[in-house]
């Protein structure tokens, strides 16, 4: 046998093993490791996504086609005739195109050159707004902002789509759609304010948490003038945390958490990398301590105890699934262990945790005792350099927060990883609660209610609240789109987007940023403060910029001449200043805390319900955003809807499979939801995401999923806070199916575990950097490709992705949608395997379904040196460029789809329809939506293949710039100057892009690392992307 024959034989055997092996190292769905293995094997033997239709369905479709007068065959006949006729019709000139220049061109403006503005997002993160010809087209994180430091999350990226949404309200109106003028509204409201002055407390303002100091000062004045009251509604708020600190320190604060200072992090149901408080800030800090491949020595360790599988759970080194009602027991058991080891516990607190021990707790709760013990020991060892966080609003929310704070105090984390002196500005402490508002409404005290940034009739869908709102005479809703609450209002006033209005924010005590408009308001809208100023007849209603300036002049400015200083702040986007929110010299006094500990809640139920906020949609206010609906949920990969996540054990017990409907009953409410079988859940828990099921939420948002908020327990008599998890629930089989639009089963691993994803533990890795590598040597000798087919005399672009820091937050995916005009196709197309994302976030599991170890792997075009797609294209529409890219030439593509067939990474996307002409067929590309498009990237038409190009438009722009300056010579672009869209927005800096021909570039250095691997390297495709293996900080205790 020759070497080549031997290699081929080896490949054949391997292929055989891949399809038949029973035990799987890596898996994507639980059915592959459970009893449904045979089912999955049949699926895996097929290369492409199977239609979910049954044979009977297909037979019916076929019969329909026969009887239908316009069958496929008949269609072809007509097409033929039409094509023949087209010949005569095509002899026309192209349509006349016009050029419309500015009459007065803004100074310094050049057509085609983007102008950037530093601004701040609605929730206070620093953003850079890229504008072309005066219209914002892309949002990027501001690298100079001290909180997000260049990262930006999916929701803020996607808010630019909200801005151009044709369904935005275009002017003031009544609920039944009668258009109004602002004068009419202002006259009415002015008289309402005058009436309120005579009846103190009859005017109320209900808002979400506000971080804008100027808006808060305006609101405060408005409340004074109208003798009203301000209420704050935040579902996913941090109120139990603030309440706990109020008890412990006398100040209602949510401390700033510095994950970068923590060697050991323990999280209890706090999904701090995706949804909990400030994930963007936390991901930045946390990932700084995970950069084992970048030479970081002190690698942190993350322990996660959670009731739902979250992205934080995926990032965990040790993870244990718990029930929401067990949170307190876990904290107290750890506190007991810590107290025994280092002491320093408050006496009152000691009495409470005294009866808990790790072993007993593990025994009572069914939590893996090893994980508990390792976590407690690690915390003790990292005293002063650790962090314990808890979230989830479970049954004992306040007690859990108190215990967590006291545990952190024992561990001496205050002043180190927990910063009480410059706390987060959460904005909810600025007003009284929603419950008080309801009480007053029901007591008949409220006549006028102004709502901004909230949608209570969706957030708390109950008959009582609807009835209460019916009692208020005048409800004025300030909102950008129609909502459930707006529909019940007297007046609906359009709200300006943060891209078109002045404002400011203070996201952390002392960190201020200005929000400057990048465009004139698109519609006849005003922002919240402009409304209030107009209604109290104050100055500045028409000049909000001056109002912001005056506030800054009086409160933030120091030193220099103000206007020079102001312009400097505008340019930089963020500044540090003295803050009213700062709390100097406060400390924890356990004192009265003990009184708040009741015995850990005894949830008497067979099953507990976990409501979690979807990492894409959050609280549902952005439900009408097509990008956020289309981008798959990080863990389940489900799009366009929510589901009931249950464990494989529970699905077996209930006799249901994926997509079968089950009925959940809790708090006298019931919902039917499709099942999603998810690893890492307890067999007595069911998890449902809130944020879906909008009734009046625009064309995109309405009718996607079910509103699980009906289950939120918000009885102030029973709980101090709204309860989101640990709700007793009954589950029953409902019959029927709903097919979730899920992308997780698009492709199969086919047993190629180590070729796809490599992972190991830190202990192994330190012994041998190659520990993660287990795949066979590359079959050089049997390569079908020529050696050195291409040489790269200039640049050779490449990328490195660190799987160890990637949190799977989807920020890169949405950034790619925005930069590259990627189409939204909708749920039906996704079910057929036609997702259009150029970059997808793969999730692979290993281990058992009860205790999975998972890892994210961002997958995009690998820009192979020996590209399988290039060799099969019959029209040379995908060819190699001299700088190492696989060019995709849309105008040459005839749509054979051979390239997508031959791509082992399955990153090519085909336009089966005119996807670019609408958002999922629900919103057509009508004004102002086309203004969203990046003019540097071609809009793809039907019948054309598309894929990631490493943001070639950015490469060409920068290279051209350097060439022009160097008289046409090709010069090396300095390393780091070109950033791809995905790289720029990554909150954990997991993506590095650069020139592989330059040995000193960061990407070259990383790619040269021994532990780096190329996906499916065994195929000899020579990808330009190097992945750095996932290293779990384990086994080195």
């Amino acid at each position: 046998m020759s070497t080549a024959e031997k290699d081929l034989e080896a490949l054949r055997i391997r292929q055989e093993q891949m399809l038949t092996q029973e035990k799987r190292g890596l898996w994507i769905t639980t059915e592959e490791i459970g009893e449904d293995f045979e089912v999955s094997k049949a699926r895996r033997a097929k290369e492409f996504l199977e239609s979910s239709k049954t044979d009977a369905d297909l037979a019916k479709i076929s019969a329909d086609e026969d009887s239908n007068s316009f069958s496929r065959r008949r269609f072809l006949q007509w097409m033929g005739a039409a094509t023949a006729l087209m010949g005569t019709a095509a002899c026309t000139r192209r349509p006349v195109d016009t050029l419309v220049p500015y009459v007065h061109k803004p100074q310094g403006f050049v057509y085609g050159v983007p102008v950037w503005y530093a601004s701040s997002s609605a929730n206070g993160y620093g953003v850079l707004v890229k504008t072309r010809e005066g219209r914002p087209i892309k949002l990027e994180g501001n690298p100079d902002h001290p909180v997000n430091q260049g990262g930006l999350d999916a929701a803020i990226q996607a808010s630019i789509l909200d801005f151009y949404n044709p369904e935005r309200l275009r002017g003031p109106a009544t609920a039944d759609g009668k258009a109004l003028g602002w004068k009419e509204v202002d006259d009415f409201m002015k008289s309402a304010v005058r009436t309120a002055e005579t009846k103190p407390g009859s005017l109320r303002v209900l808002t979400g948490a506000m971080t804008s100091p100027t808006a808060l000062s305006v609101l405060k004045k408005f409340i004074e003038v109208s003798k009203g009251e301000h209420h704050v509604l935040e579902t996913l708020g941090s109120d139990p945390i603030a309440k706990a600190y109020e008890i412990l320190t006398g100040h209602s604060v949510v401390p700033t958490l510095r994950f970068e200072k923590a060697d050991v992090v323990v999280s209890l149901d706090a999904d701090f990398l995706a949804t909990w408080l400030r994930p963007l800030e936390f991901a930045k800090g946390f990932s700084k301590r995970r950069k084992v491949h970048f030479g970081e020595k002190d690698i942190n360790q993350l322990f996660v105890f959670e009731s739902m599988y979250t992205t934080t759970g995926v990032a965990a080194d040790y993870r244990a699934s718990i029930l929401p009602s067990q949170q307190l027991a876990v904290v107290l058991a750890i506190a007991n262990y810590v107290s025994q080891s280092i002491g320093g516990a408050d006496a009152g607190f000691k009495n409470i945790f005294g009866s808990y021990s790790l072993e007993k707790t593990a025994q009572n709760t069914g939590i893996d005792v090893e994980v508990l013990k390792t976590a407690a020991a690690a915390l003790v060892k990292a005293k002063g350099k650790s962090l314990v966080v808890a979230g989830g609003n479970g049954p004992d929310a306040l007690a859990v927060q108190l215990a967590t704070a006291l545990l952190n105090q024992m561990l001496q984390n205050f002043g180190a990883s927990i910063d009480l002196e410059t706390p987060m500005v959460t904005g909810f402490e600025s007003g009284s609660s929603f419950d008080k508002l309801l009480e007053d409404i029901n007591a008949g005290k409220v006549e006028t209610l102004i709502l901004q940034g909230v949608n209570p009739l969706y957030t708390f869908p109950s008959k009582e609240i609807e009835a209460a709102f019916g009692k208020v005479k005048n409800i004025i809703t300030i909102t950008s789109e129609m909502s459930e609450t707006a529909a019940k209002s007297k007046y609906i006033l359009p709200e300006s987007h943060f891209l078109e209005t002045w404002g400011d924010s203070e996201i952390r005590a002392g960190v201020f940023s200005i929000q400057q408009p990048a465009i004139e308001p698109l519609f006849d809208s005003r922002n919240f403060s402009e409304n209030l100023l107009a209604w109290m007849g104050a100055e500045g209603a028409n000049d909000y910029r001056t109002v912001v300036q005056n506030y800054w002049k009086q409160n933030i400015h120091s030193g220099l001449d103000f206007s020079a200083w102001w312009n400097d702040q505008l340019r930089k986007g963020a500044t540090l200043g003295n803050s009213k929110a700062a709390r100097r010299g406060i400390s924890i006094k356990a004192g009265s805390a003990a009184a708040y500990f009741a015995k850990a809640s005894d949830v008497k139920s067979n099953y507990q319900l976990v409501l979690y906020s979807s990492s894409n949609l959050g609280d549902g206010s952005q439900a009408n955003n097509a990008w956020l609906q289309e981008v798959p949920d990080p863990i389940s990969k489900v799009t366009w809807g929510n589901f009931a996540a249950i464990s494989p054990a529970l699905s077996k017990k209930l006799g249901v499979h994926q997509n079968d409907l089950i009925e959940l009953k809790a708090n006298n409410q019931s919902l039917k939801l499709p099942v999603y079988v998810m690893p890492g859940l307890r067999a007595d828990a069911v998890a449902v995401s809130i944020g879906y099921g909008r009734k009046i939420g625009g064309s995109i948002g309405t009718g996607c999923g079910e509103n699980a908020s009906v289950f939120i327990s918000r009885d102030p008599k029973k709980n101090d806070f709204i309860q989101l998890s640990g709700i007793p629930v009954e589950i029953s089989k409902a019959g029927g199916r709903y097919e979730l639009a899920c992308t997780q089963k698009y492709f199969d691993i086919q047993g190629r575990d180590h070729d796809i994803l490599q992972q190991t533990t830190l202990a192994e890795f330190l012994k041998n950097p190659m520990a993660a590598k287990q795949s066979e040597a590359v079959h050089e000798s049997t390569s079908l490709y020529r050696k050195n087919e291409f040489v790269y005399p200039g640049h050779k672009w490449g990328m490195a992705i660190d799987l160890n820091t990637c949190t799977g937050c989807n920020s890169c995916v949405v950034s790619c949608y925005s930069e590259n005009n990627v189409s939204v196709v909708g749920a039906d197309q996704i079910r057929m395997g036609r997702h259009q994302a150029w970059m997808r976030m793969d999730l692979y599991h290993s281990g058992t379904a009860e205790a999975p170890e998972s890892a994210f792997e961002p997958m995009l075009c690998q820009q192979c040196d020996s590209a399988p797609c290039e060799t099969v294209c019959p029209v040379l529409a995908t060819v190699h460029s001299s700088d190492g890219l696989n060019d995709m030439v849309y105008n040459r593509c005839v749509g054979t789809r051979y390239c997508a067939n031959n791509c082992p990474y399955k990153v090519r996307r085909f336009n089966y329809f005119f996807y670019s002409e609408s958002l999922a067929d629900k919103i057509q590309m009508v004004d102002p939506l086309p203004m969203l498009m990046n003019p540097d990237v071609t809009i793809r038409s039907r019948g054309v293949m598309e894929k990631c190009t490493f943001c070639v438009q950015r490469i060409r722009k920068t290279v051209d710039e350097h060439k022009s300056n160097a008289g046409g010579k090709l010069v090396k672009v300095p390393d780091g100057e070109i950033k791809t869209a995905c790289q720029q927005s990554c909150p954990s800096d997991s993506i590095v892009f650069g020139d592989l021909n330059d040995p000193n570039s960061e990407v070259s250095k990383i790619s040269a690392k021994k532990q780096g691997f190329r996906v499916l390297e065994v195929l000899n495709t020579k990808p330009s992307i190097t992945y750095l293996p996932r290293i779990r900080n384990k086994g080195n205790a």
Partner: protein, 222 residues
Amino acid sequence: MSDDKCENSVSSRKACIVLALAVLGTLAIAALAFSPLGFGPAWYQNYAPKQPIPFSHKTHAGQFNIPCLYCHGAAEYAAFAEVPGVETCMNCHSVVKTDSPWIKQVKEAYDTNNPIKWVKVHVLPDFVHFNHKRHIAAGLECETCHGPVKTMDTVYQYSALTMGWCVNCHRDNNYVGPSRAEWTKARDALRGESLKDKPFWFQMLSHPDPHNADVSCSTCHY
């Protein structure tokens, strides 16, 4: 529906004839379209649309010698060569020839902030990204591509603006870079064979060039 049934049915035989005719027709039309006689991209050469205001380049650029970049200044800084707004016109025409009915129209546009909608003469498809700045920086004259604009009363499209026209210019004038030959040699040596005898399109696609405009597809198409 099985294939047998399909072949035996009368309707499908008819369909085959229709399809065959359609294919032949399409091929004939395609051949015509891309021939020099056809209506391919080069069809637009000499296109001289009527403009809303009969602006004469002959007068402005020819007679008065106003530099091209005075009005089309963006060409020096960006991919686009702008069409100036009436603001630029008014720099002179606020005093020059103010009684002309056309200039009155310009003044009205200026006063009412209502831009004039000029008809686009040089249109590249959206999937082509041409960069004026690079060509100006390389020292090219505007006339090289836009022709004798100084003699044009009505501007017309002087060049074909087809891909072949772009690539030929780069090749014939060696704008594809001095090291092309060296690079080809190096590559041939590496592969141990010569591509000299291969057809041009093959050479072009497999010989991307490092200097100046590199003849990769994604130089212009993305």
